[in-house]
Amino acid sequence: MIDWYFSHIVLVQSTLTTLLLALSVQVPLRAGVFSFAGVGCYGIGGYIAAIGMVHYGLSTATAILLSAVVGGVVAYALGLLIQRLTGLYLAMATVAFTLIISVLVVNGGDLTGGAAGLFGALGMLDTGHLLAVAVVVVAALTFTEIGPLGRRVEAVREDPELASAMGINVARYRRATFAVSGVLGGLAGSMTVLLRSTVTPDDINFHLVVLALTIIIVGGSRSWLGALVGTVIFVWMPEVLAFVGEWEDVVYGVLVAAAAVYLPGGVTGAAVAGYRTYRRKRREAADAPPDGPPPQPVAAGVGGDS
């Protein structure tokens, strides 16, 4: 067990940081905001942490905190700037934001280390710290998923106009998701960099956007659990698929495509749907007279309807 843990420590840790990254895209998406600003803030957070540590000797905690705050503030400001945008237009604008950041750091001279990036920003972080952060984040997010707040977030996503006719301040929700995604992105970026000690402009790329999106769609886009499931799948897939060797990417592609086709709500969505069917079946079984004939479809009709 201990051995297993130590040889998989990187996977365990990157599961936790990747979860935060995925959440930074999922949180806005859940409110109908198709924003990848979180990925840009992942880059910002990574660089701030590395710069803080390498150039200014900040402590690990300070570096992470600073990254989260700056990420949140930058994303919030971005949100203010582009609040008129929706859908894929918003997606494009935020992808542009992310890619611009990667160009900025290439051209950042000594501060950012240019094309080579920065090295030696090894933070004092262990799995326990990461776990604590993840738990706090997940607990906080749970509140936005269940009960009244959950319903409101869903209304903001599904029908903003309806939501505002229900007294919900849609613009404020949207701006808030920007800030949250910035904080999450900043956390994810800074912790990733402090774990691996290096950051380069290449770390902020379109593939990260794709990865985050794939994780939450395959895992399930409606709750943090979906993000977690997706993260576990994609972080551990190379490990699990190692046996197919060089065809790993082909298998990966087939699995992702199959998930898109067969799992409309992602893995968690499928699980929830399966559970519902199971419960309904049980209800029906319980409703049927114990010694009578099995319920005919005809009989089940109105019964199920009412």
Binding site: G147, R152, A163
Partner: protein, 264 residues
């Protein structure tokens, strides 16, 4: 109330009423060249059901959108419980107690009937635990009253059209609003089903709820409303006692087919 085109069929009845819930003054909504609403002034007094009649495209729904701030006003002013609100954002006025239904069904597809109604119920109050309990109770009551009992756990797309409309109504009344705006709430229902809804609206009036109702069923409007407005081409063409309004020649001319004439 300034527009010269309004023919006040019996002006006296209204002015005697108490303080108004909502007052719209010379409201106009233009979309480019389309004058969807053009200088409408209305006043809604507490505890009554007001109806809006008018041909298709006469601006009824747009008027409702204007009253709920979902479209910008081209001109005019709005007042709710004595406070101007023609520049606030839609959620503000909704939060003050104006609930509405939409002409085309708008419900959250992924949520159950109960959740949809609860969304309305919760929009009224704070987030406290006791209040949450009350909100659930309000939602349950609204579901009962709209004939949705037993369908709480259904998803909207599993419901027939008529039942989807009821969800809209339930959601609106669950917020226990001060003013309820209904845009063709009974479209797709037959006479009996309409009567149920009308009965419900009457009960709500009994509880003091002010309502503004848009419907094309003249019989139902006459039965249900205390006061009718008739619109055509974005303007009010008549305003007053229901019976009087539907008999008004301009309304007959603009609006009523065989069905309405039979009634008059």
């Amino acid at each position: 109330m300034a527009s010269g085109t309004i023919e006040d069929v019996d002006g006296a009845a209204d002015t005697a009423a108490t303080e108004s819930v909502l007052r719209a003054d010379d409201v106009a909504v233009h979309f480019g060249g389309v004058k969807a609403v053009d200088g409408v002034s209305i006043e809604l007094t507490p505890g009554r059901i007001f109806g809006v009649l008018g041909p298709n495209g006469s601006g009824k729904s747009t008027l409702l959108a204007a009253l709920t701030r979902l479209v910008p006003l081209t001109r005019g002013s709005l007042e709710f419980e004595g406070r101007r609100y023609d520049t606030v954002r839609p959620h503000t006025i909704a939060a003050r107690g104006v609930a509405r239904t939409f002409q085309t069904v708008r419900i959250l597809p992924g949520r159950t009937v109960f959740d949809n109604v609860a969304l309305g119920a919760e929009s009224a109050g704070s987030a406290g635990k006791a209040e949450r309990g009350r909100a659930r109770q309000r939602a349950r009551t609204a579901i009962e009253r709209t004939g949705l009992a037993g369908k709480e756990r259904h998803r909207p797309d599993e419901l027939s059209y008529g039942y989807q409309r009821r969800v809209e109504i339930a959601r609106a009344i669950a917020s226990e609003p001060t003013l309820l705006l209904l845009d063709e709430p009974t479209a797709g229902m037959n006479r009996q089903e309409r009567d149920d809804i009308t009965g419900l609206l009457g009960d709500l009036r009994g509880e003091g709820l002010t309502q503004l109702l848009i419907e094309h069923d003249v019989q139902m409007m006459v039965d249900a409303c205390d006061h009718l407005f008739a619109m055509n081409f974005g303007e009010l063409i008549a305003d007053g006692e229901p019976e009087a309004v539907v008999r008004h020649p301009a309304v007959q001319e603009a609006y009523l087919g065989k069905q309405g004439r039979a009634h008059a």
